[in-house]
């Protein structure tokens, strides 16, 4: 295939946001080139057959917030996107019991009742409040963040709308929202529930991808994310993509190609070409230069501004804030090929629990201890884990009768004391398997192949600075109009014709595609 030497737009990085961005630009009639360093597109959303016959969603493994308007506007189902439901969450407990939450409301209530009659009732009230709050913050997630210090009509209008929106919330909801924004997940949930495993499993969604523990302030608001998925258009979009998360990227790439975008893999960008404060194209590692009217980066803010652009082209204060941007990696991943299904002591038979999420989060103390290890530079000896068995949901992920297991693990600090190396990586893998074997003793004997991924690997293999899965921590001081830097949260950058579209911009994190889409709309609006 031949590529032209000039494009309307070049998108650096073929992660899901880069692909979404390219698809929207191409849909508007622009000539677009996506440049991906690896041999396949997807970034952190890829499916790879590392061990023959077994397919791993190597990094990102579930989809919850992929925006319905993106699914619709890019017609992703026609490009093969199929999201299969993950219906349950089961938390095995050290005493041989478990806590399950199931697809059926009555079944969940009866199960919660078994642990606490009060929690069973509170769960519905809590669900209703979260539903309201999710409905309240939904417009924020979908908007380009206004700059609160700016006096430009666009920002003022946007802020005014936001103010009106918040005034429309009832007092109860408004106070709950403030609490949610400031409290720790553990404290917030303490106000509602008494069952440790329930609080721990729910608070775990507040710590995923952050370098914080369930008792760190500011972790509560991420609890909302789970509910956001439920009120958007594609309800039941929480799930597992058939074919693994790579299938999501492939479907977006398919849409981008149908709109005419070129996608080039094994094309590593060395730097962005800048002339007179204006981006004019990119130079590849192989020396090729490709020019474009607009350049968009889907890479994280540090990589984008500190590696691709010589600092002389950027204002000092901007470079400083990007340097200060917190992007510590805190999680890893273990992927397993299995000869047989795990037999959990609490639920020894094959059953529906193996088709949903399995959470190793027996208590808030357990999670906080896991965090304590990481605070002082170690990986958790007894980590938090979020496990799914993709082959139980999509049999095509493994040979018949065999299985793959995806284990998200926290904490694995990027700044491991003494540094990461292959030995430490495998020691981390051992800690994961040892911990899991306490709940499913047959697991170690069933392992045919094991892939361990640490923040070190995430940085080296897919270019996530410090291995942070969200392109920057999702803490309050790095959200909305502060993401990634004050005054530069609208996908623009201090360089003309240079934009950012990765998870390091608002709203950031997870396979939502929002950053890619909003950045494309910003580019198109500026296109005159």
């Amino acid at each position: 295939m031949s590529y032209s030497a000039h494009y309307d737009a070049i998108v650096i990085g073929g992660g899901h946001n880069g692909l979404v961005n390219a698809a929207y630009l191409a849909r508007a009639g622009k000539s677009v080139l996506v440049l991906e360093r690896r041999h396949l597109v997807g970034g952190a959303a890829v499916t790879e057959e590392i061990y023959p016959g077994f397919k791993y969603s190597v990094y990102s493994y579930v989809v919850s917030l992929l925006r319905p308007e993106i699914i619709r506007e890019l017609d992703l189902p026609s490009h093969g996107l199929e999201i299969l439901p993950l219906e349950s969450t089961v938390t095995p407990l050290p005493n041989g019991d478990y806590l399950g939450r199931w697809a059926d409301h009555d079944q969940t209530r009866r199960e919660l009742y078994r642990h606490s009659a009060k929690d069973a009732e509170a769960y519905d009230d809590y669900g209703k409040l979260m539903y309201h709050l999710a409905f309240a913050v939904k417009p924020i997630v979908a908007m380009v963040p206004p700059d609160p210090t700016s006096l430009s009509p666009r920002d003022l209008l946007s802020l005014l709308k936001l103010g009106k929106h918040f005034r429309s919330l009832g007092a109860t909801q408004f106070y709950a929202l403030v609490k949610l924004m400031t409290m720790s997940a553990a404290d917030f949930l303490d106000e509602w529930f008494e069952t440790q495993a329930l609080k721990a499993t729910m608070s775990a969604s507040g710590i995923i991808g952050t370098f914080l523990g369930p008792r760190s302030p500011g972790t509560a608001y991420v609890l909302l994310h789970h509910y956001l998925g439920e009120i958007d258009g594609s309800f039941r979009a929480w799930g597992f993509a058939k074919g693994g998360t790579g299938a999501i990227s492939e479907s977006i790439a398919g849409a981008a190609r149908r709109f005419g975008a070129d996608i080039r893999t094994e094309a590593s960008v060395a730097r962005v070409l800048v002339r007179h404060g204006r981006a004019t194209g990119v130079a590849l590692e192989n020396g090729d230069e490709i020019t474009a009217r607009v350049v968009v980066s889907g890479l994280d803010p540090k990589r984008t501004f500190l590696k691709l652009i010589e600092s002389e082209h950027l204002p000092d204060d901007f470079v400083d804030s990007i340097r200060r941007f917190k992007i510590r990696g805190s999680s890893g991943k273990v992927n397993l090929s299995l000869s047989e299904l795990p037999k959990f002591t609490c639920l020894p038979r094959d059953g529906p629990h193996l088709r949903g999420a399995i959470s190793i989060s027996p208590s808030v103390d357990y999670l906080e201890r896991a965090y304590d290890d990481a605070k002082y530079g170690n990986f958790s000896r007894r980590p938090y884990m979020d496990i799914i068995i993709p082959s139980m949901i999509d049999p095509g992920m493994a040979p018949p009768g065999k299985h793959v297991m995806s284990i998200f693990v926290q904490y694995a600090p990027s700044d491991l004391e003494g540094g990461w190396n292959e030995t430490r990586r495998e020691a981390f893998g051992d800690a994961v398997i040892d911990t899991l074997a306490q709940y499913a003793p047959n697991l170690p004997g069933a392992i045919l192949h094991r892939q361990v991924i640490t923040p070190w690997d995430l940085e080296r293999d897919i270019g996530l600075t410090q291995g942070n899965i969200f392109h920057g921590e999702l803490s309050l001081h790095q959200l909305f109009f502060l993401r990634p830097a004050p005054s530069w949260a609208d996908y623009r950058t201090p360089l003309d014709n240079f934009y950012q579209c990765g998870s390091g911009t608002h709203p950031g994190g997870g396979i939502s595609g929002t950053s890619g889409r909003l950045a494309a709309l910003r580019v198109l609006k500026d296109w005159k």
């Binding site: 697809a103 009120i231 049999p395």
Partner: protein, 403 residues
């Protein structure tokens, strides 16, 4: 079991011992005097996704089945159904409606040519009397084998692999709408590559006495391929996505219609492709020829209800769109401008297409693909109209269905 089989109760199918043991939801549906599972699990989503992403096992035994045999079998059938049976090869299956003298649809089903002089016809309603009446003068016998023949639909992308595990017959060589005799674990069966899901799939016809071992063999072999018993709720969503109509829901059988307006011709049901007017005279052909010349007043089309429109309607009452989680089967008015131009008869949220879809009877004036119409939706007890686009069916038509 005794109670179930007593005269006052609905019948179980030959698979009842197996299906009832699995039916956690106790959600049973009536089908031709039988009970079949509405869903097995408490929610039906996974059963639906089995149809689309692995394999679903569906008990379709309540179908009426007729064995038509004799030297005139093909000639006789050519006279009663709209498809051309003379061109139907042995081992071929035809989907076909059949009509009354006015060219209005009585029923629809599949017609399998099992031998030179032997066919099996399936139908939703009893048709024995009507077949007998039309058989006068033909050297055929029509036998009702509904009770003695059990049937399972094995539908979904992994259905072929599962069948390969249980039979030596050439499953891979069985083309779309073909059937063959086979043995599954020594049980004689007929396997046809047919179904009501619009996906890759098979229907397996077996003597009722062998029903249970057949079920067990498929469940056992299918485990590694994600086989999942699925009920009518899941099937209903799949068949709407496939654009397949359902008697008594999407059309009223001519024999049951109390007034003329309730009847539909094959042309009006999107089944014009099944009407072979050049094959010679058959029941209803005169009327159908006339309708073909003059055009039809109605057409059955697909509707895609626009999400943005639903979002706006629901935002007015402070809610995100609320859609039914199972397929609906009621008549819903469809408008073009100020006037009603038709009615939708089934609809559902399509989990695979992420679209809200419906099947609708539309005046031919408003039936062109791309036409914007409005479908009635009830938002918080109030009748509203959501914008919808007329589309062709099937809504979902994967390559694997035929490949």
């Amino acid at each position: 079991m005794e109670a179930v089989n007593s005269d006052a109760m609905l019948k179980g199918t030959p698979f009842h011992s197996r299906t009832s043991a699995l039916c956690q939801s106790q959600n049973w549906r009536r089908w031709s005097g039988h009970v079949v599972a509405g869903s097995y699990e408490l929610t039906h989503d996974r059963e639906y996704f089995a149809i689309r992403s692995s394999a679903a096992l569906i008990d379709v035994s309540p179908l009426h089945k007729y064995m038509i045999e004799g030297p005139d079998a093909a000639r006789f059938l050519n006279r009663v159904v709209t498809r051309d049976v003379s061109g139907c090869a042995q081992g071929q299956v035809l989907y076909t409606p059949w009509c009354d003298e006015e060219g209005k649809v009585i029923d629809d089903g599949t017609l399998a040519r099992l031998g030179e002089e032997k066919f099996r016809l399936t139908s939703a309603e009893p048709n024995l009397l009507w077949l007998h009446n039309n058989a006068l003068g033909f050297r055929v016998t029509v036998g009702d084998v509904s009770e003695s023949t059990a049937a399972l639909a094995l539908q979904g992308p992994t259905s072929r692999e599962i069948l390969r595990c249980v039979t030596d017959a050439d499953v891979g060589g069985l083309r779309f709408f073909r059937s063959m005799a086979a043995e599954v674990k020594r049980i004689p069966v007929t396997i046809s590559r047919t179904g009501y899901t619009g996906d890759l799939g098979y229907e397996i016809w077996v003597d009722g006495e062998n029903a249970e071992p057949l079920w067990d063999a498929l469940i056992e072999a299918g485990g590694p391929y994600g086989i999942t018993p699925a009920g009518m709720l899941a099937l209903d969503v799949a068949r709407i996505e496939a654009g397949l109509i359902l008697i008594d829901v999407d059309y009223v059988p001519a024999h049951r219609a109390l007034i003329e307006d309730r009847k539909s011709s094959p042309f009006e049901l999107g089944l014009g492709w099944t009407v072979k007017l050049d094959k010679g005279s058959f029941v209803g052909s005169t009327a159908l020829l006339k309708e073909q010349r003059n055009g039809s007043d109605w057409q059955l089309r697909g509707l895609e209800i626009e999400w943005e429109s639903l979002e706006t309607l629901y935002a007015d009452v402070g809610l995100p769109p609320q859609l039914p989680t199972i397929a609906w089967r009621t008549s819903v008015p469809v408008y073009g401008g100020r006037h009603q131009v038709g009615y939708a008869t089934s609809g559902c949220w399509s989990p695979i297409l992420k679209k809200y879809i419906a099947l609708a009877h539309l005046h031919s004036t408003h039936a062109r693909t791309g036409t914007k119409v409005e479908m009635e939706v009830t938002v918080e007890h109030r009748r509203k109209r959501a914008v919808a686009t007329v589309t062709s069916t099937p809504f979902f038509n994967p390559e694997r269905k035929r490949s």
